[in-house]
């Protein structure tokens, strides 16, 4: 690459919005759709993914000088699978009900493209500090994506947020939001919104985009 590698801080900020794993890179879709029917499972999944991503990045970064090119995918997979097993056992021991609700989606973190791609692109080439910042940034971005989708689905689908009622009891609850079609539709529409915001912002700058959105309230 002609330009310099991004610094740790740049990577951290990058992971949250500009290169958000779900909205910009379209990685890790499976858990995003599956666990976002309510905020609690979504945040538990975000925490588990963050744990695996950060630990895997740290370990791979520590080992980066020892990795052989054709065996590195094996090493990544082994590391990620180990941390996912640890996370799964911890969830089953300390939050059993939530672990049952998340079901097979916690082990599916192993094949979450986000983690393997961060190991490949960043952790295997950068120092520990940079890799950690990258992992934390991406985890926050992932959690943000999960939170937005889960908020929409839970509020419209059940009238609650984190289990607390935010809409009046008379709200009928759009059942479809809690079911699979609602997941697809919500993510599709939110992706469209994210894409529109990013294009407008690229074209006219962040401040102008915000002003334009504010002027539409009339």
């Amino acid at each position: 690459m002609a330009r310099e590698d991004p610094t740790a801080l740049e990577r951290f900020i990058n992971g949250v919005l500009p290169e958000n794993p779900v909205y910009r890179q379209l990685l890790g879709m499976c858990p995003v759709l599956a666990v976002t029917s309510a905020m609690k499972p979504a945040m538990t999944m975000a925490g588990a993914t963050a744990f695996v991503l950060i630990c895997a990045n740290l370990v791979i970064s520590l080992m980066r000088k020892l990795l052989k090119p054709h065996l590195r995918i094996l090493v990544f997979t082994l590391t990620i699978a180990t941390f996912v097993t640890i996370a799964d056992k911890f969830l089953a021991a300390y939050v059993y009900e939530m672990s049952k609700q998340l079901g097979p989606y916690v082990p599916l973190i192993i094949v979450n493209c986000l983690i393997i791609s961060r190991c490949e692109i960043c952790a295997s080439k950068q120092s520990v500090g940079v890799a950690a910042a990258d992992a934390v940034g991406m985890s926050l971005g992932f959690a943000l994506a999960l939170a937005t989708i889960a908020t929409v689905r839970e509020i419209l689908g059940a009238g609650t947020w984190f289990g607390l009622h935010v809409l009046p009891e008379s709200w009928p609850g759009w059942g479809i939001m809690v079911l699979p079609p609602g997941a697809f539709l919500t993510l599709g529409l939110l992706l469209g919104i994210a894409e529109w915001v990013s294009r407008t912002q690229a074209r006219t700058g962040l401040w102008r985009t915000a002003r334009m959105l504010w002027s539409w309230r009339r």
Binding site: C30, A34, V111, G188
Partner: protein, 231 residues
């Protein structure tokens, strides 16, 4: 006949009623990425069905004999090494690692096989063949099989595991081919710019999921129909 009925129910359950893509949300990445043309989509679906069946077969064998709590082989090896035959050995903590290795190796073998015997198919797959390893649907198939090997009173046999895996793969193929057919038409439609690509594909998937929801509750009727047919 009860076995055959339950096998058919497991198969239809995995393929249509609880479709892996539209109900369990696994296999979304290739579902969005490879579904532009019907022939590539169908080819990908067949490859996924093949890999999911092979890996379910291997993983069932490993789980049944080695990895589940109360599996026979570890106890046998422990006894050979002179240990106390009454000790409980539970190797299930290694399950996920073993499964992902088996899947990665299966994909490698399929890749070598296709490259040797079907070179044009191999070229048309391009980069997506090795990416089947990270297809959630394959690991999910193995996880479902593992789920049914936990209770010692209700263990699934190899035939049931294969019915689930094949059903899941064929369900994936159906979903991805339908999506490819719709997207081919969508290319000619006037989609708003922000929704082009993944956005509209997900909205279409949502409508398809609604359609497949119509299969809920079909199991009872199918079970009745099969038992009438087979009598």
């Amino acid at each position: 006949m009860e076995t055959l009925t339950s096998l058919i129910l497991i198969f239809i359950g995995a393929a249509l009623i609880n479709n892996f893509v539209l109900h369990y949300f696994v296999g979304i990445c290739p579902f969005l990425g490879v579904s532009r043309r019907v022939d590539t989509a169908f080819g990908m679906g067949c490859a996924v069905t093949f890999v999911i069946s092979i890996s379910a077969l291997l993983n069932w064998t490993l789980t049944y004999f080695v990895l589940r709590p109360g599996a026979p082989l570890p106890v046998w090896v422990w006894q050979l090494a002179g240990g106390d035959p009454a000790t409980q050995i539970d190797l299930s903590v290694l399950s996920y690692i073993v499964y992902i290795f088996v899947i990665a190796s299966s994909v490698q073998f399929v890749e070598m096989y296709v490259r040797k015997f079907f070179p044009p198919l191999y070229r048309s797959f391009g980069v997506y063949l090795p990416l089947i390893t990270t297809n959630c649907a394959i690991l999910f198939g193995s996880l479902e099989v593992m789920k049914h090997l936990q209770d010692p009173t209700k263990l699934w046999g190899l035939h049931e595991a294969l019915a689930l895996a094949a059903g899941g793969g064929i369900g994936f193929t159906i979903a991805i081919s339908l999506m490819a057919g719709i997207r081919e038409e969508l290319d000619l439609a006037d989609v708003p710019a922000p929704l082009k690509g993944a956005g509209i594909a997900l909205i279409v998937a949502g409508i398809m999921a609604m359609g497949f929801m119509g299969f809920t509750g079909v199991e009872k009727g199918v079970a009745g129909a099969i038992s009438t047919l087979l009598r």
